[in-house]
């Protein structure tokens, strides 16, 4: 038997993941028994991906079930305040690693009693570098009699490869991992015996501590694939083997005093690696900033071997400076791209990007975040995509995120660590190979409703565009989509048709995994897009978007930044109320002394 910790024996942990058409439904169940002769505290702690939404949590104690209830955040907050007044702490979800947030709950269980915890969460797996990745954090802390991870994948397009890896895997553990796939189904399981779990033959400690990752991709006979189930459709679009579109990149790099030392060294290391991978048809330039701006070349230059060598020499000599002026260098980057366009210095069919890397708030020049955002939005008339990389803890991430979203880009955190250069390089490789521009996806207008975003500025090789919606025409026989996009050399058109009668068979097959996944996938995608739009919307639009996202979060029972899950757990004196909120990125707090 497993060794009880603090008299609590966790005798079963079951991680059950079912993926249907990229949509993952995960159930983590843990069972424990209190072997002591008095009541003891049992803890349930799960790390789940930041991109996932919790959908349910329950506890069964002595046959009685305590269910989590998903409510509007404000309503839950009131309940939380009542809990605070009763002397109870709240907050079940906390930030943990780079990719994860931690859900923790602990409960007192009577002597010789059992408890079952069950957490359910869902997420849409995103394709990056040509594969989907499902990440499971494994940390049972103790030997567990029945420990198992089971991943079932069902992809109607057929699975092209499937792999499973764990950071803690040893030769002894290898036989415990099974992976197989054929046609549409994939299966991964990991069921280590008690002896396989031991850190050494005579140890009572576990070696299961790390990341378990399942990766796979699907077959792509055509550029797109449409799936229709129960009146909802989802369209996956990932054209293969296209020529790359040239890109014009301005790297706007913060070299202010706070970048001194390792941060600046890592930035230089990343830039040197990025330069190695720059295609000859690309154009680029550097804008370095502290309180001053230093532009490498008066205009963008082509990535010829000679220019790349000069660029590497320039990067190597970057040294740290003084304060941080974010406004002017970003405007300078816009101006450089405007001039390059006006003077036809860059290819007509090309992607123009600005990559801003900063580790702090603006403290000189224009320091008001709203004003900087306004200036950049106003200057960027041609709509260059702005990516903002926030380096380290002191960065005003909310400011960067809004500015990126307002300019068709995204923001990303670069965590201050030994692999920061790798993180920057990793981000670059995601956007390194654009193959399509201005992608417009057209669906039968009168037959559909509730369409998610259907026009995209770029498609990057190895990624995937996903669009979902609802079919409102019950008599529709054929569902078709036309995609128009600018390729490297010409305008490209793609068409996909699907016979709706035929989809019944598909739908039946998919339902065996779990029923309403297409609808849930649509809801997940819609909520994500509404929340993203909300960041850069004006106040009246913001309220509307919030309401739509909230309604969907409540209807589909997702814990999103707008909802909370209220969990009631038994206590020796009275029942206790706890709240699980979605973790939201914020600025690192500080402590201070001042007066007024």
């Amino acid at each position: 038997t497993a060794e009880p910790v603090n008299d609590i024996e966790v005798y079963s942990i079951n991680i059950d993941c079912k993926v249907t058409s990229r949509f993952a439904h995960n159930v983590i169940t843990s069972r424990a028994i209190n072997r002591a002769s008095m009541s003891k505290e049992a803890m349930f702690k799960v790390d789940l991906p930041k991109t996932a939404f919790i959908t349910n949590f329950s506890m069964v104690i002595d046959g009685k079930t305590y269910l989590g209830e998903i409510k509007e955040k404000e309503v839950a907050k009131k309940q939380y305040e009542t809990a605070v007044k009763r002397g109870q702490t709240a907050g079940l979800v906390k930030a943990s690693g780079r990719k994860t947030e931690t859900f923790t709950v602990s409960v007192n269980i009577a002597a010789q009693s059992k408890v079952t915890f069950e957490l359910v969460y869902e997420e849409m797996l995103k394709r990056n570098h040509g594969k989907y990745e499902m990440f499971i954090k494994v940390q049972p802390k103790t030997l567990v009699r029945n420990f198992q991870i089971e991943v079932e994948i069902h992809e109607p397009q057929g699975i092209s490869f499937l792999d499973a890896e764990a950071t803690f895997i040893t030769n002894d553990l290898l036989p415990a991992v099974h992976k197989s796939f054929s046609a549409e189904k994939g299966y991964v399981s990991f069921k280590p015996t008690l002896d396989q779990q031991r850190s050494c033959a005579t140890c009572s400690t576990t070696l299961l501590d790390g990341d378990f990752t399942v990766t796979y991709d699907v077959n792509r006979e055509s550029a797109g694939n449409i799936q229709v189930v129960d009146g909802y459709f989802v369209h996956f679009f990932a054209p293969q083997k296209l020529a790359g579109v040239p890109k014009n990149v301005i790297y706007v790099i913060d070299k202010s005093g706070s970048m001194y030392g390792r941060k600046l060294e890592q930035t230089k290391e990343a830039l040197l690696e990025i330069l190695k991978d720059t295609a000859e048809h690309d154009h680029f330039n550097f804008v370095l900033f502290d309180n001053d701006i230093e532009v490498w070349k008066p205009s963008l230059v082509k990535a010829t071997p000679e220019n790349l060598k000069k660029a590497r020499d320039f990067v190597r000599q970057i040294t740290d400076g003084y304060t941080t002026n974010i406004n002017d260098p970003v405007l300078k980057a816009v101006q450089l791209l405007d001039e390059a366009n006006a003077l036809n210095q860059i290819p007509e069919r090309s992607v123009s990007l600005i990559v801003l890397l900063t580790d702090g708030e603006a403290n000189i020049g224009e320091t008001e975040p709203e004003k900087i955002q306004e200036n950049v939005k106003k200057a960027n008339q041609r709509g260059y995509t702005l990516y903002c990389l926030g380096f380290g803890y002191g960065v005003n991430y909310g400011f960067l995120e809004k500015m990126a979203l307002e300019n068709a880009g995204i923001a990303r955190r670069i965590y201050e660590d030994s692999d920061a250069a790798l993180q920057m390089k990793g981000f670059y490789t995601e956007i390194a190979n654009p193959t399509l521009l201005d992608i417009k996806m057209e669906y039968p207008e009168n037959a559909i409703a509730n369409l998610t975003q259907n026009s995209f500025k770029h498609y990057f090789d190895g990624s995937e565009i996903v669009v979902a919606g609802r079919i409102i025409d019950n008599d529709l026989n054929v569902f078709s989509v036309d995609v128009k996009a600018e390729g490297a050399d010409n305008l490209l058109k793609y068409s996909e048709n699907v016979q709706l009668q035929d989809t019944d068979g598909v739908s039946k097959k998919q339902e065996y995994i779990f029923g309403d996944f297409t609808e849930r996938l649509w809801a997940y995608l819609t909520i994500q897009q509404l929340l993203e739009k909300r960041v850069s919307a004006d106040p009246s639009e913001k309220e509307k978007l919030k309401k739509q996202a909230l309604d969907l979060s409540l209807k589909f029972k997702f814990v999103t930044p707008l909802t909370s899950m209220v969990v009631t757990k038994p206590d020796e004196i009275e029942e206790e109320t706890l709240v699980a909120d979605k973790f939201v990125e914020a600025q690192a707090p500080s402590n201070w002394v001042d007066s007024d």
Binding site: V84, K85, R86, G87, Q88, T89, G91, K94, G257, S258, Y260, G261, R262, K263, N291, D320, Y322, T323, N363, I364, Y393, G394, A588, P589, S590, N591, W592, V593, D594, S595, D596
Partner: protein
Amino acid sequence: PHFVINVPSQNDALCFNIQEEPGVVLNLVEDQGLGIAVNGEIIGKKKIGNNVMSNETYFGKLGFVNREMKLRIEVTTETITIMLGKNKKEYTWEKTTSVKKKGLNLVIHKKNNMTLSFGEGAKFVIILHQFLKDDPLHMDFLGFYTLDDHKFSAHVHGLLGQFFHGIDYEISNVHKTKIPDKPDATMKVKNKLLTVTRGSQKDYRSDPRKGKKVPCWFVHSNAEGLIDGTHKDYIVPDIF
């Protein structure tokens, strides 16, 4: 002076005042591991003639020591003095200036604030609060903000420093008082029960005039029970 301690795990803040006589120097941060210390000297109790016009006290002088860099910095409401070994250089708040030596980055923003960082580690912001010379109640004073608290060693101490690696507490028995929006409650912290009051303090970094309100649980009696020992234990002989 008002102290504010952020508690991200509770999504809340704690606050307290330390009342001491002008001239007293308090230790704010002491990190033996990094060789960094920050002390602050109290000013206040403005008098006109023999009459005390205000009992408020503030920090009027801050002293920073970086042992490894053999560096001492004195910040008053009028000057900033950098002492590097035997060398000494003085700056005023009248001009935007930056000073950079190996590992030291100091930027003075004219009549406004000053940022100070030692290498990749400790980072501080000092806010200058200025008033008219003939203001009957107020006098110029300084606000002191720490950033990147996680970079300090595990042994960091001092009135602010002891909270850099978090604090656990529980609030119970919230009940109304005579002031409707300031309920009292019981705080369980360090195995003690303290009576605390809901209130707010201000963060003046983004708006040095009005400040941004930060709700917090106020700990009475010079934070007795919350801080290690009593506030008298943090009195040091001088700012260095």
